[in-house]
Symmetry: C2
Subunit: 311 residues, 2 copies
Amino acid sequence: MALTEFSLIQQYFAQQNHKNTSTCLGIGDDCALLSLPAGYQLAITTDTMVEGVHFFAGADPAQLGHKLLAVNLSDLASMGARPVSVTLALTLPTVDAKWLEAFSKGFLKLAEHYNVDLIGGDTTAGPLTLTVQALGLVPEHKALVRSTAKVGDLIYMTGALGDAGLGLKINLGYKCPQPDVALQRFNTPDPQIAVGLSLIDVASACVDISDGLAADLGHILGQSHVGACLDWECLPLSQAVQNYIDETGDCLMPLTAGDDYELCFTVSPDKIAQLHGNYTQIGIIESTPGLRLRKDGVVQALMSKGYEHFS
Amino acid sequence: MALTEFSLIQQYFAQQNHKNTSTCLGIGDDCALLSLPAGYQLAITTDTMVEGVHFFAGADPAQLGHKLLAVNLSDLASMGARPVSVTLALTLPTVDAKWLEAFSKGFLKLAEHYNVDLIGGDTTAGPLTLTVQALGLVPEHKALVRSTAKVGDLIYMTGALGDAGLGLKINLGYKCPQPDVALQRFNTPDPQIAVGLSLIDVASACVDISDGLAADLGHILGQSHVGACLDWECLPLSQAVQNYIDETGDCLMPLTAGDDYELCFTVSPDKIAQLHGNYTQIGIIESTPGLRLRKDGVVQALMSKGYEHFS
Protein backbone atom coordinates (compact mmCIF):
# COMPACT_ATOMS: atom_id res chain seq x y z
CA MET A 1 0.00 0.00 0.00
CA ALA A 2 1.58 3.27 -1.09
CA LEU A 3 1.19 6.55 0.74
CA THR A 4 -1.34 8.19 -1.55
CA GLU A 5 -3.48 5.05 -1.59
CA PHE A 6 -3.21 4.88 2.16
CA SER A 7 -4.53 8.39 2.64
CA LEU A 8 -7.28 7.64 0.13
CA ILE A 9 -8.43 4.60 2.06
CA GLN A 10 -8.11 6.49 5.31
CA GLN A 11 -10.19 9.37 4.05
CA TYR A 12 -13.14 7.43 2.71
CA PHE A 13 -13.12 4.10 4.44
CA ALA A 14 -11.43 4.32 7.82
CA GLN A 15 -14.06 6.66 9.23
CA GLN A 16 -16.06 3.72 10.47
CA ASN A 17 -15.60 3.01 14.14
CA HIS A 18 -14.97 -0.64 14.74
CA LYS A 19 -18.10 -1.90 16.38
CA ASN A 20 -17.84 -5.61 15.96
CA THR A 21 -16.39 -7.25 19.04
CA SER A 22 -14.35 -9.61 16.84
CA THR A 23 -12.19 -6.80 15.47
CA CYS A 24 -8.92 -6.30 17.36
CA LEU A 25 -7.02 -4.34 14.71
CA GLY A 26 -8.57 -2.82 11.59
CA ILE A 27 -7.24 -0.85 8.63
CA GLY A 28 -3.70 0.49 8.81
CA ASP A 29 -1.26 -2.36 9.40
CA ASP A 30 0.02 -5.18 7.19
CA CYS A 31 -2.91 -7.29 8.37
CA ALA A 32 -6.08 -6.86 10.36
CA LEU A 33 -6.51 -8.97 13.48
CA LEU A 34 -9.67 -10.74 14.62
CA SER A 35 -10.46 -12.62 17.81
CA LEU A 36 -13.14 -15.24 17.35
CA PRO A 37 -15.37 -16.66 20.05
CA ALA A 38 -15.06 -20.32 21.02
CA GLY A 39 -17.60 -22.72 19.56
CA TYR A 40 -17.82 -21.01 16.17
CA GLN A 41 -16.45 -21.65 12.73
CA LEU A 42 -15.37 -18.92 10.38
CA ALA A 43 -17.27 -18.68 7.06
CA ILE A 44 -15.35 -17.03 4.21
CA THR A 45 -16.52 -15.91 0.79
CA THR A 46 -15.34 -13.60 -1.96
CA ASP A 47 -17.08 -11.98 -4.90
CA THR A 48 -15.87 -9.64 -7.61
CA MET A 49 -17.81 -7.11 -9.65
CA VAL A 50 -16.34 -5.82 -12.92
CA GLU A 51 -17.50 -2.72 -14.78
CA GLY A 52 -19.22 -3.64 -18.03
CA VAL A 53 -19.79 -7.21 -16.84
CA HIS A 54 -21.56 -7.06 -13.47
CA PHE A 55 -22.63 -3.44 -13.66
CA PHE A 56 -23.02 -0.78 -16.30
CA ALA A 57 -20.36 1.87 -16.87
CA GLY A 58 -21.52 4.94 -15.00
CA ALA A 59 -23.57 2.96 -12.46
CA ASP A 60 -24.58 4.90 -9.37
CA PRO A 61 -21.58 4.51 -7.03
CA ALA A 62 -23.64 4.45 -3.81
CA GLN A 63 -25.80 1.62 -5.18
CA LEU A 64 -22.66 -0.13 -6.37
CA GLY A 65 -21.10 0.06 -2.91
CA HIS A 66 -24.29 -1.36 -1.42
CA LYS A 67 -24.58 -4.15 -3.97
CA LEU A 68 -20.93 -5.18 -3.79
CA LEU A 69 -21.22 -5.73 -0.07
CA ALA A 70 -24.73 -7.22 -0.30
CA VAL A 71 -23.74 -9.97 -2.74
CA ASN A 72 -20.94 -11.03 -0.40
CA LEU A 73 -23.11 -10.90 2.72
CA SER A 74 -25.67 -12.96 0.83
CA ASP A 75 -23.16 -15.82 0.63
CA LEU A 76 -22.72 -15.63 4.40
CA ALA A 77 -26.51 -15.62 4.82
CA SER A 78 -26.82 -18.77 2.76
CA MET A 79 -24.47 -20.58 5.19
CA GLY A 80 -26.36 -19.35 8.25
CA ALA A 81 -23.37 -17.20 9.22
CA ARG A 82 -23.42 -13.89 11.08
CA PRO A 83 -21.19 -11.39 9.22
CA VAL A 84 -18.34 -9.88 11.23
CA SER A 85 -15.92 -8.19 8.85
CA VAL A 86 -14.91 -7.61 5.26
CA THR A 87 -11.91 -6.52 3.22
CA LEU A 88 -12.24 -4.47 0.06
CA ALA A 89 -9.92 -4.58 -2.96
CA LEU A 90 -10.62 -1.58 -5.19
CA THR A 91 -9.10 -1.27 -8.64
CA LEU A 92 -9.89 2.23 -9.89
CA PRO A 93 -9.09 3.89 -13.23
CA THR A 94 -8.77 7.29 -11.54
CA VAL A 95 -9.12 8.80 -8.10
CA ASP A 96 -12.55 10.39 -8.34
CA ALA A 97 -13.33 11.93 -4.96
CA LYS A 98 -17.04 12.26 -5.67
CA TRP A 99 -17.30 8.64 -6.81
CA LEU A 100 -15.31 7.38 -3.81
CA GLU A 101 -17.40 9.36 -1.36
CA ALA A 102 -20.68 8.00 -2.74
CA PHE A 103 -19.34 4.45 -3.12
CA SER A 104 -17.96 4.36 0.40
CA LYS A 105 -21.19 5.77 1.83
CA GLY A 106 -23.27 3.07 0.14
CA PHE A 107 -20.85 0.40 1.24
CA LEU A 108 -20.44 1.56 4.83
CA LYS A 109 -24.12 2.22 5.39
CA LEU A 110 -24.93 -1.42 4.70
CA ALA A 111 -21.88 -2.52 6.70
CA GLU A 112 -23.04 -0.58 9.72
CA HIS A 113 -26.54 -1.96 9.40
CA TYR A 114 -25.17 -5.48 9.81
CA ASN A 115 -22.47 -4.51 12.34
CA VAL A 116 -19.80 -5.49 9.83
CA ASP A 117 -16.35 -3.89 10.12
CA LEU A 118 -14.29 -2.97 7.09
CA ILE A 119 -10.94 -4.23 8.37
CA GLY A 120 -8.61 -3.87 5.41
CA GLY A 121 -8.16 -3.55 1.71
CA ASP A 122 -6.00 -2.68 -1.22
CA THR A 123 -6.36 0.15 -3.69
CA THR A 124 -4.81 -0.21 -7.10
CA ALA A 125 -4.91 1.60 -10.43
CA GLY A 126 -6.56 -0.19 -13.34
CA PRO A 127 -9.92 -1.00 -14.95
CA LEU A 128 -12.79 -0.65 -12.43
CA THR A 129 -12.90 -3.98 -10.56
CA LEU A 130 -14.25 -4.44 -7.05
CA THR A 131 -13.58 -7.46 -4.84
CA VAL A 132 -14.87 -8.07 -1.34
CA GLN A 133 -14.00 -10.90 0.95
CA ALA A 134 -16.47 -11.37 3.77
CA LEU A 135 -15.98 -13.22 7.05
CA GLY A 136 -18.75 -14.51 9.25
CA LEU A 137 -19.34 -16.73 12.26
CA VAL A 138 -21.44 -19.85 12.34
CA PRO A 139 -21.88 -22.23 15.30
CA GLU A 140 -19.64 -25.27 14.92
CA HIS A 141 -21.03 -27.97 12.62
CA LYS A 142 -24.24 -25.97 12.06
CA ALA A 143 -23.43 -24.30 8.74
CA LEU A 144 -26.07 -24.64 6.00
CA VAL A 145 -24.18 -26.41 3.24
CA ARG A 146 -25.30 -27.56 -0.21
CA SER A 147 -24.60 -31.25 0.13
CA THR A 148 -27.17 -32.39 2.68
CA ALA A 149 -30.57 -32.16 1.00
CA LYS A 150 -32.54 -35.42 1.26
CA VAL A 151 -35.20 -37.01 -0.92
CA GLY A 152 -38.61 -35.85 0.29
CA ASP A 153 -37.34 -32.51 1.62
CA LEU A 154 -39.51 -29.56 0.67
CA ILE A 155 -37.93 -26.69 -1.26
CA TYR A 156 -38.57 -23.14 -0.09
CA MET A 157 -37.42 -19.70 -1.03
CA THR A 158 -37.53 -16.23 0.47
CA GLY A 159 -39.04 -13.23 -1.31
CA ALA A 160 -39.91 -13.24 -4.99
CA LEU A 161 -38.22 -14.56 -8.09
CA GLY A 162 -37.04 -12.64 -11.13
CA ASP A 163 -37.43 -9.05 -10.00
CA ALA A 164 -33.70 -8.40 -10.29
CA GLY A 165 -33.73 -10.06 -13.69
CA LEU A 166 -36.55 -7.75 -14.68
CA GLY A 167 -34.51 -4.83 -13.35
CA LEU A 168 -31.71 -5.80 -15.71
CA LYS A 169 -34.18 -6.01 -18.61
CA ILE A 170 -35.47 -2.53 -17.73
CA ASN A 171 -31.90 -1.22 -17.77
CA LEU A 172 -31.50 -2.78 -21.21
CA GLY A 173 -34.61 -1.04 -22.56
CA TYR A 174 -37.64 -3.11 -21.55
CA LYS A 175 -40.57 -0.80 -20.83
CA CYS A 176 -42.11 -1.69 -17.49
CA PRO A 177 -45.05 0.37 -16.18
CA GLN A 178 -44.00 -0.17 -12.52
CA PRO A 179 -40.20 -0.41 -12.64
CA ASP A 180 -39.40 0.71 -9.08
CA VAL A 181 -39.35 -2.60 -7.21
CA ALA A 182 -37.50 -4.40 -9.98
CA LEU A 183 -34.86 -1.68 -10.19
CA GLN A 184 -34.48 -1.59 -6.43
CA ARG A 185 -34.00 -5.36 -6.34
CA PHE A 186 -31.42 -5.15 -9.15
CA ASN A 187 -29.51 -2.16 -7.76
CA THR A 188 -29.65 -2.60 -3.99
CA PRO A 189 -30.47 -6.19 -3.01
CA ASP A 190 -30.91 -7.07 0.66
CA PRO A 191 -28.84 -9.97 1.99
CA GLN A 192 -31.08 -12.38 3.91
CA ILE A 193 -28.90 -12.51 7.01
CA ALA A 194 -31.68 -12.90 9.59
CA VAL A 195 -33.31 -15.67 7.57
CA GLY A 196 -30.02 -17.56 7.28
CA LEU A 197 -29.49 -17.38 11.02
CA SER A 198 -33.04 -18.59 11.69
CA LEU A 199 -32.60 -21.59 9.40
CA ILE A 200 -29.83 -23.17 11.47
CA ASP A 201 -31.08 -26.53 12.79
CA VAL A 202 -34.09 -26.22 10.46
CA ALA A 203 -32.95 -26.24 6.81
CA SER A 204 -31.20 -29.32 5.42
CA ALA A 205 -29.41 -27.34 2.66
CA CYS A 206 -29.31 -23.74 1.51
CA VAL A 207 -27.96 -21.51 -1.28
CA ASP A 208 -28.42 -17.91 -2.24
CA ILE A 209 -29.92 -17.21 -5.65
CA SER A 210 -27.12 -15.27 -7.31
CA ASP A 211 -26.86 -17.02 -10.68
CA GLY A 212 -30.53 -17.93 -11.06
CA LEU A 213 -32.71 -20.39 -9.18
CA ALA A 214 -32.13 -23.22 -11.66
CA ALA A 215 -28.35 -22.95 -11.47
CA ASP A 216 -28.15 -22.40 -7.72
CA LEU A 217 -30.66 -25.07 -6.79
CA GLY A 218 -28.71 -27.20 -9.25
CA HIS A 219 -25.69 -26.89 -6.93
CA ILE A 220 -27.73 -28.35 -4.07
CA LEU A 221 -28.96 -31.16 -6.30
CA GLY A 222 -25.51 -31.99 -7.65
CA GLN A 223 -23.75 -31.92 -4.31
CA SER A 224 -26.56 -33.76 -2.51
CA HIS A 225 -26.86 -36.36 -5.32
CA VAL A 226 -30.60 -35.80 -5.63
CA GLY A 227 -33.04 -34.23 -8.08
CA ALA A 228 -35.98 -31.89 -7.72
CA CYS A 229 -39.28 -30.89 -9.22
CA LEU A 230 -40.46 -27.28 -9.02
CA ASP A 231 -44.11 -26.25 -9.28
CA TRP A 232 -44.63 -23.35 -11.70
CA GLU A 233 -47.86 -22.36 -9.99
CA CYS A 234 -46.04 -22.03 -6.66
CA LEU A 235 -43.21 -19.75 -7.81
CA PRO A 236 -43.45 -16.36 -6.09
CA LEU A 237 -43.67 -13.91 -8.98
CA SER A 238 -44.41 -10.21 -8.58
CA GLN A 239 -47.12 -8.65 -10.72
CA ALA A 240 -44.40 -6.89 -12.75
CA VAL A 241 -42.62 -10.18 -13.49
CA GLN A 242 -45.95 -11.85 -14.27
CA ASN A 243 -46.73 -9.00 -16.69
CA TYR A 244 -43.31 -9.39 -18.30
CA ILE A 245 -43.95 -13.10 -18.87
CA ASP A 246 -47.43 -12.44 -20.23
CA GLU A 247 -46.01 -9.91 -22.67
CA THR A 248 -42.91 -11.78 -23.79
CA GLY A 249 -43.67 -15.45 -23.20
CA ASP A 250 -40.24 -15.65 -21.52
CA CYS A 251 -41.27 -17.80 -18.57
CA LEU A 252 -37.72 -19.05 -18.01
CA MET A 253 -36.47 -15.59 -17.04
CA PRO A 254 -37.35 -15.84 -13.33
CA LEU A 255 -35.77 -19.29 -13.17
CA THR A 256 -32.53 -18.37 -14.90
CA ALA A 257 -31.92 -14.68 -14.23
CA GLY A 258 -29.33 -13.92 -11.57
CA ASP A 259 -28.99 -11.25 -8.91
CA ASP A 260 -32.10 -12.08 -6.84
CA TYR A 261 -30.06 -12.78 -3.66
CA GLU A 262 -32.98 -14.56 -2.07
CA LEU A 263 -32.30 -17.81 -0.22
CA CYS A 264 -33.42 -21.18 -1.57
CA PHE A 265 -33.41 -23.94 1.04
CA THR A 266 -34.66 -27.41 1.72
CA VAL A 267 -36.48 -28.62 4.85
CA SER A 268 -37.18 -32.15 5.98
CA PRO A 269 -40.96 -32.73 6.47
CA ASP A 270 -40.45 -33.35 10.21
CA LYS A 271 -38.84 -29.90 10.59
CA ILE A 272 -41.61 -27.92 8.87
CA ALA A 273 -43.20 -27.03 12.18
CA GLN A 274 -39.96 -25.28 13.18
CA LEU A 275 -40.02 -23.08 10.08
CA HIS A 276 -41.25 -19.63 11.05
CA GLY A 277 -41.27 -16.98 8.39
CA ASN A 278 -42.87 -15.83 5.20
CA TYR A 279 -41.41 -18.35 2.77
CA THR A 280 -42.81 -19.97 -0.34
CA GLN A 281 -42.74 -23.69 -0.91
CA ILE A 282 -41.75 -24.10 -4.56
CA GLY A 283 -41.04 -27.80 -4.99
CA ILE A 284 -39.74 -31.06 -3.58
CA ILE A 285 -36.50 -33.01 -3.58
CA GLU A 286 -36.71 -36.29 -5.52
CA SER A 287 -34.38 -39.20 -6.05
CA THR A 288 -34.19 -38.90 -9.86
CA PRO A 289 -31.25 -36.62 -10.68
CA GLY A 290 -31.89 -33.36 -12.52
CA LEU A 291 -34.18 -30.39 -12.13
CA ARG A 292 -37.74 -30.54 -13.43
CA LEU A 293 -40.59 -28.08 -13.65
CA ARG A 294 -44.30 -28.95 -13.38
CA LYS A 295 -46.25 -26.44 -15.47
CA ASP A 296 -49.82 -26.78 -16.73
CA GLY A 297 -49.87 -30.36 -15.45
CA VAL A 298 -46.79 -31.37 -17.46
CA VAL A 299 -43.39 -32.15 -15.96
CA GLN A 300 -40.50 -31.03 -18.13
CA ALA A 301 -36.73 -31.11 -17.65
CA LEU A 302 -35.25 -27.75 -16.83
CA MET A 303 -31.74 -26.85 -17.91
CA SER A 304 -29.91 -25.74 -14.81
CA LYS A 305 -28.29 -22.78 -16.48
CA GLY A 306 -27.79 -19.46 -14.82
CA TYR A 307 -25.84 -16.50 -15.96
CA GLU A 308 -22.57 -17.76 -17.40
CA HIS A 309 -19.48 -15.69 -17.90
CA PHE A 310 -17.40 -16.60 -20.94
CA SER A 311 -20.35 -18.24 -22.66
CA MET B 1 -20.45 -18.44 -9.52
CA ALA B 2 -21.78 -19.75 -12.81
CA LEU B 3 -21.47 -23.32 -14.00
CA THR B 4 -18.70 -22.82 -16.51
CA GLU B 5 -16.69 -20.83 -14.02
CA PHE B 6 -17.29 -23.46 -11.43
CA SER B 7 -15.90 -26.21 -13.61
CA LEU B 8 -12.99 -23.95 -14.48
CA ILE B 9 -12.12 -23.45 -10.84
CA GLN B 10 -12.64 -27.12 -10.14
CA GLN B 11 -10.32 -28.14 -12.95
CA TYR B 12 -7.37 -25.98 -12.14
CA PHE B 13 -7.65 -25.06 -8.52
CA ALA B 14 -9.59 -27.69 -6.60
CA GLN B 15 -7.01 -30.39 -7.19
CA GLN B 16 -5.24 -29.46 -4.02
CA ASN B 17 -6.02 -31.74 -1.12
CA HIS B 18 -6.83 -29.77 1.95
CA LYS B 19 -3.89 -30.26 4.25
CA ASN B 20 -4.28 -27.49 6.72
CA THR B 21 -6.04 -28.66 9.86
CA SER B 22 -7.98 -25.38 10.01
CA THR B 23 -9.91 -26.13 6.82
CA CYS B 24 -13.32 -27.74 7.41
CA LEU B 25 -14.90 -26.97 4.04
CA GLY B 26 -13.04 -25.71 0.99
CA ILE B 27 -14.03 -24.74 -2.54
CA GLY B 28 -17.53 -25.63 -3.72
CA ASP B 29 -20.11 -24.10 -1.39
CA ASP B 30 -21.31 -20.54 -0.84
CA CYS B 31 -18.58 -20.12 1.76
CA ALA B 32 -15.57 -22.01 3.00
CA LEU B 33 -15.49 -22.97 6.68
CA LEU B 34 -12.51 -22.78 9.01
CA SER B 35 -12.06 -23.96 12.58
CA LEU B 36 -9.45 -21.99 14.46
CA PRO B 37 -7.50 -23.19 17.48
CA ALA B 38 -8.03 -21.49 20.85
CA GLY B 39 -5.47 -18.91 21.89
CA TYR B 40 -4.90 -17.49 18.43
CA GLN B 41 -6.01 -14.43 16.52
CA LEU B 42 -6.78 -14.41 12.85
CA ALA B 43 -4.60 -12.16 10.66
CA ILE B 44 -6.21 -11.05 7.39
CA THR B 45 -4.74 -9.27 4.40
CA THR B 46 -5.59 -8.67 0.76
CA ASP B 47 -3.53 -7.60 -2.24
CA THR B 48 -4.43 -7.08 -5.87
CA MET B 49 -2.22 -7.28 -8.96
CA VAL B 50 -3.36 -5.63 -12.19
CA GLU B 51 -1.93 -6.31 -15.63
CA GLY B 52 0.01 -3.34 -16.93
CA VAL B 53 0.32 -1.89 -13.42
CA HIS B 54 1.83 -4.58 -11.20
CA PHE B 55 3.05 -6.86 -13.95
CA PHE B 56 3.76 -6.64 -17.65
CA ALA B 57 1.26 -7.87 -20.23
CA GLY B 58 2.38 -11.36 -21.21
CA ALA B 59 4.12 -12.02 -17.89
CA ASP B 60 4.96 -15.67 -17.22
CA PRO B 61 1.76 -17.06 -15.64
CA ALA B 62 3.54 -19.51 -13.32
CA GLN B 63 5.69 -16.71 -11.93
CA LEU B 64 2.60 -14.54 -11.65
CA GLY B 65 0.76 -17.20 -9.64
CA HIS B 66 3.76 -17.50 -7.34
CA LYS B 67 4.16 -13.75 -6.89
CA LEU B 68 0.45 -13.07 -6.30
CA LEU B 69 0.42 -15.52 -3.42
CA ALA B 70 3.88 -14.49 -2.15
CA VAL B 71 2.98 -10.82 -1.78
CA ASN B 72 -0.03 -11.75 0.32
CA LEU B 73 1.86 -14.26 2.45
CA SER B 74 4.50 -11.59 2.96
CA ASP B 75 1.92 -9.46 4.78
CA LEU B 76 1.16 -12.39 7.08
CA ALA B 77 4.91 -12.86 7.65
CA SER B 78 5.25 -9.24 8.69
CA MET B 79 2.65 -9.78 11.44
CA GLY B 80 4.33 -12.96 12.68
CA ALA B 81 1.36 -15.00 11.45
CA ARG B 82 1.38 -18.57 10.19
CA PRO B 83 -0.61 -18.76 6.92
CA VAL B 84 -3.57 -21.15 6.86
CA SER B 85 -5.70 -20.39 3.83
CA VAL B 86 -6.39 -18.04 0.95
CA THR B 87 -9.16 -17.11 -1.44
CA LEU B 88 -8.50 -16.10 -5.03
CA ALA B 89 -10.54 -13.68 -7.13
CA LEU B 90 -9.55 -14.01 -10.78
CA THR B 91 -10.76 -11.57 -13.40
CA LEU B 92 -9.75 -12.97 -16.78
CA PRO B 93 -10.20 -11.53 -20.29
CA THR B 94 -10.52 -15.04 -21.76
CA VAL B 95 -10.41 -18.63 -20.61
CA ASP B 96 -6.90 -19.63 -21.67
CA ALA B 97 -6.33 -23.21 -20.54
CA LYS B 98 -2.56 -23.02 -20.93
CA TRP B 99 -2.36 -19.80 -18.96
CA LEU B 100 -4.65 -21.14 -16.21
CA GLU B 101 -2.69 -24.35 -15.91
CA ALA B 102 0.64 -22.55 -15.52
CA PHE B 103 -0.81 -19.89 -13.23
CA SER B 104 -2.48 -22.42 -10.95
CA LYS B 105 0.69 -24.52 -10.79
CA GLY B 106 2.79 -21.56 -9.72
CA PHE B 107 0.17 -20.53 -7.19
CA LEU B 108 -0.49 -24.00 -5.74
CA LYS B 109 3.17 -24.97 -5.56
CA LEU B 110 3.87 -22.07 -3.22
CA ALA B 111 0.63 -22.73 -1.34
CA GLU B 112 1.61 -26.33 -0.72
CA HIS B 113 5.07 -25.30 0.40
CA TYR B 114 3.53 -23.25 3.20
CA ASN B 115 0.68 -25.67 3.91
CA VAL B 116 -1.83 -23.05 2.77
CA ASP B 117 -5.22 -24.21 1.48
CA LEU B 118 -6.99 -22.45 -1.38
CA ILE B 119 -10.46 -22.46 0.13
CA GLY B 120 -12.53 -20.38 -2.27
CA GLY B 121 -12.66 -17.81 -4.97
CA ASP B 122 -14.51 -16.09 -7.73
CA THR B 123 -13.85 -16.13 -11.46
CA THR B 124 -15.13 -13.26 -13.54
CA ALA B 125 -14.68 -11.97 -17.08
CA GLY B 126 -12.85 -8.67 -17.50
CA PRO B 127 -9.42 -7.05 -17.67
CA LEU B 128 -6.75 -9.26 -16.05
CA THR B 129 -6.93 -8.48 -12.32
CA LEU B 130 -5.89 -10.86 -9.55
CA THR B 131 -6.86 -10.50 -5.89
CA VAL B 132 -5.90 -12.79 -3.04
CA GLN B 133 -7.06 -12.61 0.53
CA ALA B 134 -4.85 -14.50 2.94
CA LEU B 135 -5.69 -15.71 6.44
CA GLY B 136 -3.14 -16.61 9.09
CA LEU B 137 -2.90 -17.42 12.76
CA VAL B 138 -0.93 -15.51 15.34
CA PRO B 139 -0.82 -16.18 19.10
CA GLU B 140 -3.15 -13.80 20.96
CA HIS B 141 -1.67 -10.36 21.60
CA LYS B 142 1.63 -11.36 19.98
CA ALA B 143 1.19 -9.95 16.48
CA LEU B 144 4.02 -7.79 15.16
CA VAL B 145 2.31 -4.47 14.51
CA ARG B 146 3.66 -1.18 13.22
CA SER B 147 2.81 1.04 16.13
CA THR B 148 5.10 -0.22 18.90
CA ALA B 149 8.65 0.78 17.91
CA LYS B 150 10.46 2.65 20.68
CA VAL B 151 13.23 5.26 20.67
CA GLY B 152 16.56 3.45 20.88
CA ASP B 153 15.32 0.29 19.15
CA LEU B 154 17.68 -1.00 16.47
CA ILE B 155 16.35 -1.42 12.93
CA TYR B 156 17.04 -4.65 11.10
CA MET B 157 16.10 -6.19 7.78
CA THR B 158 16.22 -9.61 6.17
CA GLY B 159 18.00 -10.30 2.89
CA ALA B 160 19.18 -7.56 0.55
CA LEU B 161 17.71 -4.30 -0.63
CA GLY B 162 16.89 -3.23 -4.17
CA ASP B 163 17.30 -6.47 -6.10
CA ALA B 164 13.62 -6.54 -7.08
CA GLY B 165 13.88 -2.88 -8.05
CA LEU B 166 16.86 -3.78 -10.21
CA GLY B 167 14.83 -6.63 -11.72
CA LEU B 168 12.21 -4.09 -12.76
CA LYS B 169 14.91 -1.87 -14.30
CA ILE B 170 16.22 -4.88 -16.23
CA ASN B 171 12.73 -5.57 -17.53
CA LEU B 172 12.56 -1.94 -18.63
CA GLY B 173 15.84 -2.20 -20.57
CA TYR B 174 18.70 -1.71 -18.11
CA LYS B 175 21.65 -3.86 -19.11
CA CYS B 176 22.86 -5.86 -16.13
CA PRO B 177 25.76 -8.30 -16.56
CA GLN B 178 24.38 -10.66 -13.86
CA PRO B 179 20.61 -10.28 -14.06
CA ASP B 180 19.55 -13.67 -12.65
CA VAL B 181 19.22 -12.88 -8.94
CA ALA B 182 17.53 -9.54 -9.58
CA LEU B 183 15.01 -11.08 -11.97
CA GLN B 184 14.33 -13.96 -9.60
CA ARG B 185 13.70 -11.53 -6.77
CA PHE B 186 11.38 -9.47 -8.98
CA ASN B 187 9.48 -12.40 -10.45
CA THR B 188 9.28 -14.96 -7.63
CA PRO B 189 9.87 -13.36 -4.23
CA ASP B 190 9.97 -15.53 -1.12
CA PRO B 191 7.67 -14.55 1.75
CA GLN B 192 9.65 -14.48 5.01
CA ILE B 193 7.22 -16.64 6.96
CA ALA B 194 9.76 -18.42 9.17
CA VAL B 195 11.45 -15.15 10.06
CA GLY B 196 8.14 -13.54 11.02
CA LEU B 197 7.28 -16.46 13.29
CA SER B 198 10.71 -16.29 14.94
CA LEU B 199 10.36 -12.57 15.64
CA ILE B 200 7.37 -12.99 17.95
CA ASP B 201 8.37 -11.82 21.45
CA VAL B 202 11.58 -10.38 19.95
CA ALA B 203 10.75 -7.59 17.47
CA SER B 204 9.01 -4.44 18.72
CA ALA B 205 7.54 -3.61 15.28
CA CYS B 206 7.66 -5.12 11.80
CA VAL B 207 6.64 -4.44 8.19
CA ASP B 208 7.32 -6.13 4.90
CA ILE B 209 9.13 -4.07 2.26
CA SER B 210 6.57 -4.01 -0.52
CA ASP B 211 6.52 -0.32 -1.43
CA GLY B 212 10.18 0.45 -0.71
CA LEU B 213 12.10 0.57 2.57
CA ALA B 214 11.61 4.33 3.01
CA ALA B 215 7.84 4.13 2.63
CA ASP B 216 7.35 0.97 4.65
CA LEU B 217 9.66 1.93 7.49
CA GLY B 218 7.85 5.27 7.30
CA HIS B 219 4.65 3.44 8.32
CA ILE B 220 6.37 2.17 11.49
CA LEU B 221 7.69 5.66 12.24
CA GLY B 222 4.35 7.35 11.68
CA GLN B 223 2.31 4.87 13.67
CA SER B 224 4.88 4.61 16.47
CA HIS B 225 5.33 8.43 16.60
CA VAL B 226 9.10 8.15 16.30
CA GLY B 227 11.80 8.86 13.71
CA ALA B 228 14.79 6.92 12.44
CA CYS B 229 18.24 7.28 11.00
CA LEU B 230 19.53 4.69 8.50
CA ASP B 231 23.23 4.08 7.86
CA TRP B 232 24.04 3.96 4.14
CA GLU B 233 27.17 1.90 4.78
CA CYS B 234 25.10 -0.75 6.58
CA LEU B 235 22.46 -1.27 3.87
CA PRO B 236 22.67 -4.82 2.47
CA LEU B 237 23.23 -4.26 -1.27
CA SER B 238 24.07 -7.03 -3.71
CA GLN B 239 27.01 -6.55 -6.05
CA ALA B 240 24.54 -6.09 -8.93
CA VAL B 241 22.70 -3.31 -7.10
CA GLN B 242 26.03 -1.72 -6.08
CA ASN B 243 27.13 -1.81 -9.72
CA TYR B 244 23.82 -0.22 -10.79
CA ILE B 245 24.38 2.62 -8.31
CA ASP B 246 28.00 3.10 -9.40
CA GLU B 247 26.88 3.31 -13.03
CA THR B 248 23.81 5.49 -12.63
CA GLY B 249 24.39 7.43 -9.42
CA ASP B 250 20.81 6.44 -8.43
CA CYS B 251 21.53 5.61 -4.81
CA LEU B 252 17.90 6.15 -3.81
CA MET B 253 16.67 3.17 -5.87
CA PRO B 254 17.24 0.51 -3.19
CA LEU B 255 15.52 2.73 -0.62
CA THR B 256 12.48 3.56 -2.72
CA ALA B 257 11.96 0.62 -5.11
CA GLY B 258 9.19 -1.77 -4.12
CA ASP B 259 8.72 -5.51 -4.43
CA ASP B 260 11.60 -6.66 -2.18
CA TYR B 261 9.26 -8.49 0.25
CA GLU B 262 11.97 -8.61 2.89
CA LEU B 263 11.01 -7.84 6.48
CA CYS B 264 12.11 -4.64 8.21
CA PHE B 265 11.77 -4.78 12.00
CA THR B 266 12.85 -3.06 15.16
CA VAL B 267 14.32 -4.68 18.26
CA SER B 268 14.81 -3.21 21.71
CA PRO B 269 18.50 -3.34 22.77
CA ASP B 270 17.67 -5.71 25.65
CA LYS B 271 16.18 -8.21 23.19
CA ILE B 272 19.14 -8.33 20.79
CA ALA B 273 20.49 -11.49 22.44
CA GLN B 274 17.25 -13.27 21.49
CA LEU B 275 17.65 -12.38 17.82
CA HIS B 276 18.91 -15.44 15.99
CA GLY B 277 19.25 -15.20 12.24
CA ASN B 278 21.17 -13.63 9.44
CA TYR B 279 19.80 -10.08 9.60
CA THR B 280 21.42 -6.73 8.91
CA GLN B 281 21.24 -3.83 11.33
CA ILE B 282 20.55 -0.80 9.14
CA GLY B 283 19.73 2.01 11.58
CA ILE B 284 18.22 3.14 14.84
CA ILE B 285 14.91 4.54 16.04
CA GLU B 286 15.16 8.16 17.23
CA SER B 287 12.77 10.57 18.89
CA THR B 288 12.92 13.24 16.15
CA PRO B 289 10.15 12.45 13.64
CA GLY B 290 11.04 11.66 10.05
CA LEU B 291 13.42 9.33 8.28
CA ARG B 292 17.07 10.27 7.83
CA LEU B 293 20.04 8.72 6.07
CA ARG B 294 23.66 8.95 7.22
CA LYS B 295 25.88 8.79 4.14
CA ASP B 296 29.52 9.81 3.86
CA GLY B 297 29.34 11.20 7.38
CA VAL B 298 26.42 13.50 6.59
CA VAL B 299 22.87 13.03 7.88
CA GLN B 300 20.20 14.03 5.37
CA ALA B 301 16.41 13.87 5.41
CA LEU B 302 14.97 11.09 3.30
CA MET B 303 11.64 11.42 1.59
CA SER B 304 9.58 8.44 2.63
CA LYS B 305 8.21 7.78 -0.83
CA GLY B 306 7.69 4.35 -2.24
CA TYR B 307 5.96 3.34 -5.39
CA GLU B 308 2.81 5.37 -5.69
CA HIS B 309 -0.15 4.49 -7.82
CA PHE B 310 -2.00 7.44 -9.32
CA SER B 311 1.06 9.71 -8.97
